[in-house]
């Protein structure tokens, strides 16, 4: 059994590792640029008008954040790509050189072209600003943003006659453009090349820091993601904890009652009610509750559904328990009722399935009384399948709390995730999703182990042959 368990844990860890790689690359592919958003010394305006002038500042900022490292342990590129392409982090420079490289396949000339461009720009920028130098600064900035070689050549041809006193610097650019126009990547140079990029890379650093609990820095306000999550966590835990408790308190008696006495008209009605409750979308119920219970126009204002932070500043739960309960009740009810209906429905099925087992009939013939039979013998067996749900509660409740926290403005984890997504704060989004993936995966593993530990039948089956 332990061998099987070890195999399972290893495959789980492998899956989580692959997920972390996937999330890392999704984060890289997400729009926006971390340096542009966070760099305090970096003037975004300057970047938009004169990308070439901003390059040096950008590079220093990127180096400080470790963005000058290769992205991953290995890289797969066409043969004509240099293995040091990752060293160009500046988005404009990378886009231009990559586009030209794909088109021409000649790295040394592309590099020389970009070098000539920047040299010419710095020469022009150092000149006293008259009409000519301003014109050329603008033209060179436009040239950096072209998407194809043909576009660059047209731009150059339409402005070359105005070179004036920059004729000497400009000539190098024109020559290189002409040389680039005739070269093409060869057929064989498109074959993929696999290169080892070393252990010290961006993914390695990111994942190592993540494992150590350093979830990165939020792009929104520059605060640590871990800190923000830590502030949001108690709200989600409180609401979810209360909801789970409430759901089980309701589901147990209801499920057992339905299994034992649910054959009549009342049982039928209750069963249908459970299905209705389960199908009612929680955010709709939440909206309706908001509508009915909190709008003064309708005459009632039982629950104050605003000012969560004010409540927290007013002291802990015991400072004003009634205010807390009034505030928490609506979100908790919204989270709990669907879960309660689902659990009751499921418990009823497993309970009545166990009632059909021969050992129950045997126990009855031995004269074991109702209470002892149901709670001492049937219930433990009926609870076994429920163990699986304990693990599935984690993802379900986190998803549910996104909606409910959004509706009720709770400053919890789900709300934080949604806000981060809308404001393109990728480190928060992806660190959080990775965290959820870990929690979900280990929850499932835990429930598997629990199930094996509690049910000898499964344990024996697992040790004999790997279950499907």
């Amino acid at each position: 059994m332990s061998g099987f368990l070890l195999k399972k844990i290893l495959s789980l860890l492998l899956a989580l590792w692959v997920i972390s790689i996937l999330l890392f690359f999704l984060q890289r592919a997400a729009p926006g640029d971390a340096v542009l958003r966070l760099g305090r010394a970096f003037s975004g305006e300057m970047y938009h008008v004169h990308p070439l002038a901003a390059e040096a500042i950008y590079r220093a900022e990127a180096q400080r954040r470790g963005l000058n490292l290769p992205a991953f342990y290995i890289s797969v590129q066409p043969a004509f790509f240099p293995d040091t392409l990752y060293r160009i982090q500046y988005p404009e420079a990378l886009a231009l050189q990559r586009a030209l490289l794909l088109e021409t396949g000649d790295w040394s000339k592309v590099q020389a072209f970009y070098g000539a461009l920047t040299r010419c720009y710095s020469f022009v920028a150092e000149d006293p600003s008259d009409r000519e130098s301003i014109f050329w600064q603008q033209r060179l900035s436009e040239l950096v943003r072209v998407e194809t070689l043909a576009e660059a050549r047209i731009l150059w041809k339409t402005s070359v006659h105005r070179l004036g006193r920059y004729r000497h610097q400009g000539q190098a650019i024109g020559n290189l453009l002409d040389q680039l126009a005739v070269s093409r990547p060869g057929v064989m140079s498109w074959l993929p090349t696999l290169r080892w990029q070393g252990w010290d890379n961006q993914y390695h650093r990111w994942f190592r820091q993540w494992l150590r609990g350093d979830l990165g820095v939020s792009l929104r306000d520059g605060r640590k993601v871990g800190e923000k999550l830590g502030e949001a966590l108690p709200w989600t835990l409180w609401i979810n904890g209360a909801a789970i408790l409430l759901a089980y308190l309701f589901a147990f008696p209801m499920g057992i009652f339905l299994a034992l006495k649910g054959r009549g008209r009342l049982g039928q009605l209750l069963r249908n009610t459970l299905l209705v409750l389960y199908a009612l979308p929680s955010f709709w119920v939440g909206s309706m509750l908001l509508l009915l219970a909190t709008s003064p126009e309708l005459g009632y204002d039982f629950f104050r559904v605003s000012g969560w932070l004010a409540l927290k500043q007013g002291g802990g739960f015991w400072a004003d328990p009634f205010a807390w309960m009034a505030q928490l009740s609506l979100p908790v009810i919204c989270m709990a009722y669907g879960l309660a209906a689902f659990l009751a429905h499921y418990l009823q099925h497993s309970f009545s399935a166990v009632l059909q087992e021969p050992f129950v009939a045997f126990a009855r013939t031995r004269g074991i009384s109702g209470f002892r039979l149901y709670f001492g013998h049937v219930l433990p067996n009926a609870l076994l399948p429920q163990v699986v749900f304990v693990a599935e509660l984690v993802p379900t409740l986190f998803s549910g709390s996104v909606i409910i926290e959004y509706l009720f403005n709770v400053p919890g984890m789900g709300r934080l995730l949604l806000d981060s997504l809308v404001s393109q704060d990728w480190p928060t989004v992806y660190s959080f999703v990775l965290l959820i993936a870990f929690l979900t995966a280990f929850g499932l593993l835990f429930s598997d182990m629990l199930l094996q530990w509690t049910d000898p039948r499964i344990r024996i089956a697992a040790s004999q042959s790997p279950p499907s």
Binding site: L14, P31, A279, S399, L417, A437, S468
Partner: protein
């Protein structure tokens, strides 16, 4: 499941009939919604010429037909049509009624001339007709639910069935052939990616891609000698399912959405299918595994039926019985996820009207009950009947 439950799990005939009528209506509204709620008239006379704007609009959009420039300005109400036959509700889901801006309750007195122009279910914050949006909601929910489930069912049944049919020991390949296949797959990914990046600007890439595909076909038919090893198809699939299931559905969508510059209908369908196929694959795998050694399959094998035919026309029909249940539950989950995304304002463009986006407005203006009640009822009914149908199938088989 146990038969003893049948007596009180049977559904009254009225429930089944009402479910059928409701679904008929829902499908009708989803398909014909444009003919019921539209700002364009069904027929109109403009400058002595006859037009059928609703019919002609798609043709004009595709550039196959032209119509007067006045029709393209957007506001149909301001075009001086000589004669017009309007649809039942003369508003499109996105039409902004300037006379009834802001939230207007259906109970309010209206600043409009005729009963036909009345907003029967009120208007939303932007002055859009709630009834027209409600009808559009059927198309959004059913479209996303059905299409994503179709996609998920295709993927899930294929991979799950493959893993269940071959499990870990029955797919035997020559080791050399397996190696060549693995290299070929990696190469196909590479050339596909290169073709995508260069977008056809480089000739050699497409030549490479094409010849790689042809070579793959050839390799498959060449018999390879050598020791045959078993491909652990089942373990591979189980591992992939485990990895996908580790990310809850909503978070999965959140993580992948930034990948698309302008996420739309198709992207949402794709993402929902990507997360929902695992449940179907799990069940398909178990069902194929159970059925593949039944006596009638063994008999078919002896008669020389090939594996594809065996899977498609002998195992799949048998497995469908329980797969329908998962499909019904899965579709309920997809519809709910779509409503979640609309409610959160994530994914679809912000001007899209769906039940979720209508209900979102209640959050800011809780007194607008008509924006919560009607879309919510439709969504609830859809989820309820899908789960009820799932339950019905579950206990009838």
């Amino acid at each position: 499941m146990d038969r003893s439950q049948d007596s009180h799990c049977r559904f009254p005939i009225t429930t089944i009939v009402s479910i059928r009528i409701g679904w008929g209506l829902a499908i009708f509204l989803a398909i014909a919604g444009d003919w019921i709620a539209n700002e364009k008239p069904l027929y109109c006379l403009y400058e002595e010429k006859h037009y059928f704007p609703i019919l002609e609009a798609p043709l004009v959009e595709m550039g196959l037909k032209t119509w007067p420039a006045a029709f393209n300005r957007g506001n149909w109400r301001e075009i001086p049509l000589q004669d017009a036959v309007q649809t039942l509700i003369p508003y499109s889901p996105g039409t902004i009624d300037r006379r009834n801006l802001g939230l207007r309750s259906p109970m309010q007195t209206w600043t409009s001339q005729s009963t036909r122009e009345r907003h029967w279910l009120g208007t939303d914050r932007l002055g859009r007709d709630v009834l027209a949006g409600w009808i559009r909601g059927f198309r959004m929910a059913l479209g996303i639910g059905v299409l994503s489930m179709l996609l998920a069912a295709g993927v899930g049944i294929f991979f799950g069935g493959f893993a269940g049919f071959y499990s870990n020991d029955r797919l035997r390949l020559s080791a050399l052939k397996a190696l060549v296949l693995a290299i070929w797959l990696a190469g196909a990914c590479w050339w596909g990616w290169a073709a995508l990046v260069t977008r056809g600007s480089s000739g050699p890439v497409f030549t490479w891609l094409l010849s790689w595909m042809v070579a793959g076909l050839l390799w498959w038919w060449i018999p390879f000698p050598g020791r045959r090893i078993a491909i652990p198809a089942d373990s591979l699939l189980t591992w992939v399912i485990q990895a996908v299931d580790a990310i809850p559905a909503l978070f999965f969508v959140f993580a992948f959405l930034p990948l698309f510059e302008k996420p739309g209908f198709a992207h949402v369908i794709l993402l929902i299918a990507l997360i929902r196929w695992t449940g179907i694959a799990r069940l398909a795998r178990a069902e194929f595994f159970r059925i593949r050694d039944l006596e009638y399959i063994q008999a078919a094998r002896l008669l020389g039926v090939g594996p594809w035919r065996l899977a498609w026309s002998h195992i799949l029909p048998n497995a469908m019985g329980s797969l329908w249940i998962t499909l019904a539950y899965g579709m309920a989950a997809s519809v709910l996820l779509e409503a979640y995304l609309g409610f959160l304002g994530v994914g679809l463009p912000s001007e899209t009207v769906s039940w979720g986006s209508q209900m979102q407005q209640v959050r800011d203006s809780p007194s607008a009950w008509w924006l919560a009640v009607f879309p919510g009822l439709a969504l609830f009914w859809m989820l309820y009947s899908l789960r009820k149908a799932g339950e019905k199938w579950q206990f009838n088989t």
